[in-house]
Symmetry: C2
């Protein structure tokens, strides 16, 4: 196995694959990246056990030769080491050569690295097959949808299903939901689907893997009962699903409300940010006090003092209402809407409230208030 | 006590003072910043116990009114809270008012913070008096000198004197030395001094405090047997000295050598950086192999493999020599020289070598090689 490759392209694609490989994975084979060179170019494969990526670098990009002096073959190399080397080595090209069964050489005209390597046959089988329901989506729409809900997924593994984003497909709608029990984010996309499905996809790995995808206009998803496969131009990402029943969240989202507050996102977020400086006794808890002429956000600390800020831009409809909430939850939810016009709808002091954007009814953020004493 | 102050000036000076205040200092009084307003303006004082800073904000800067609506007085406020507030509050001005013995208000037209405060009399006495030997220096020269040696000071407190920069003044020379036992940095400055002195100044706090000083052309130092005082236009910084004998380093620096290597700093540092990728078994150890026609830097890891890089730009004088060293030590030393032309002078394989810059003989970096097996 031997090749000389454009360093810029090699670096970019190698880093995409290395990003998900864990240097300390308990399985030493998963600390490596698999390099396979054949007629279709160089294929890089990496995995963290849950999520795997396969990235192809073609021999030519248009008229431009990316890989030359090709002798086919395959090998496994420690991912961290090869990524660090390729990132730091000088020059426009780098030459890779498998010297024997256990040593690979990476070199340019002044630097020579000889790396211990592992035979390619030792790598585990990863199923990148196109099985299950197929969905075609605009990449931007899909990435936005994931970012709109992923932050609300649980960080704790005590209820594994809650660390996932729940994907439900039916009636030509794809509904994404994430919740940690105290807040919930819900996005509906119109798609062309045949079969009904309900799958829990690990939120963290999904967000991480999508960072590497920037150029495509469309992506394809294949969702089966075992895995989700994402198909891009030159790469495949496959993730296992999380087993276990996802809570039925359909009936949690309220339909009718008694109080409505419209705010300007920037002013509201800045006010929360400032007032939160004093919410140190109970972390992140701030209070909002509303009537038709005045909206105030406040917080109080036994040790340090208190903060009050009044909004200039708002429209409030309803009786006087006072609600305390986790400022970090509200801040993340509003940021995910990506809109300056924000509508917050309340039922009562201790009932969950929704944060929405009048221009797009297909995304709903739901937050449970905090009890104050 | 009351004043309305230009927010930009207040923020900048407050952050300078807050930088050295430790939010978790065991002494709660030292978690606060002292604000005193009188005819000379607003004076901010902060301390971490070892190092203290006093920063004056005058009522006027030239024609520009910085502080208005003045009612004199003083108070102590939690430093972290007031710094966060002033950094985040909106507008060009902020108003501060002491409401009673225990509450201070900081406000603009839409946000009101009421902060618990402490009576100014509770603050500890800090001696900012101008005592001892006086030295006047160009600020840039002094700051550069500190940066040239400070990194070589020990990080461990097992030998407190080694965590200091040693200042020795005599014969109109100021000699700064820092060493952690395995490397040493030494800078000589020409200054106008009367008395001999030898003082150990904590390296970490000195570096930290000088970050806030950017505008002055000259600074004055007053060194006594208890403290060092640094006098700037609008601020004073005082640091306690570290007691204990500093090792006699004069005889450690060799005068004659048998091997000389001249390198280009950038090429040499990049080569070390790349080769270090494989120095994982013994952290940071790389080897340099030199003769008159070839200079190679190399490293080896049992687990991952090996790296070799040859230099293009060098001049070597002497027999063949092989020396192993801590790459981080050599890298820091060369960076501190701030010169592309670097001279490395060796005596023998296991003897300390010097790193210098032919154009400036008043700075010497000394490094002990590493034994390899």
């Amino acid at each position: 196995m031997k090749f000389t490759i454009n360093k810029e392209v090699f670096t970019k694609d190698l880093l995409n694959v290395c990003r998900i490989i864990q240097p300390n994975n308990v399985n030493p084979i998963l600390q490596t990246v698999k390099l396979v060179l054949d007629n279709s170019g160089l294929t890089l494969t990496g995995s963290n056990g849950d999520l795997s990526i396969s990235q192809n670098i073609p021999l030519f990009l248009g008229d431009k030769e990316i890989i030359r002096d090709v002798r086919q073959g395959g090998v496994l190399i420690n991912a961290k080491i090869i990524c660090d080397i390729v990132r730091k080595i000088d020059g426009n090209e780098v030459t890779f050569e498998l010297l024997d069964d256990s040593v690979a050489k990476i070199a340019n005209d002044k630097t020579v690295f000889k790396l211990n390597s592992i035979r390619v046959e030792e790598y585990q089988d990863i199923d990148f097959g196109e099985e299950g329901t197929e969905i075609k989506l605009k990449r931007e729409e899909f990435v936005n949808a994931i970012n709109e809900v992923s932050f609300a997924a649980s960080q704790k593994s005590s209820r594994p299903a809650l660390t996932a984003i729940n994907f439900v497909g039916e009636n030509n709608l794809l509904v994404l939901t994430a919740t940690d029990g105290a807040r919930l984010a819900n996005r509906t996309l119109s798609v062309d689907i045949k079969d009904r499905f309900n799958a829990n996809i690990p939120s963290k790995t999904l967000v991480e893997s999508l960072k590497s995808v920037t150029n495509e206009e469309f992506i394809k998803l294949f969702i089966s009962d075992k895995k989700i496969l994402m198909v891009f131009n030159d790469s495949l990402i496959v993730s296992r699903l999380i087993s276990g029943e996802y809570p039925n969240t359909k009936n949690i989202i309220p339909k009718s409300f008694s109080y409505y507050l419209e705010v300007n996102a920037s002013e509201f977020l800045n006010a929360i940010d400032r007032v939160s400086l004093l919410s140190v006794d109970r972390e992140n808890v701030v209070k909002i006090t509303m009537n038709e002429t005045k909206v105030e956000i406040s917080s109080k600390s036994q040790q340090y003092g208190s903060a009050v800020e009044s909004l200039n831009l708002f429209k409030y409809q309803g009786e006087r209402l006072e609600i305390s909430f986790n400022s970090e939850f509200v801040t993340s939810a509003i940021k995910a809407l990506r809109s300056e016009d924000v509508l917050i709808s309340f039922i009562a002091e201790m009932k969950p409230f929704t944060i929405t954007n009048k221009k797009d009814e297909n995304i709903i953020q739901l937050i449970t208030p905090v009890r104050t004493y």
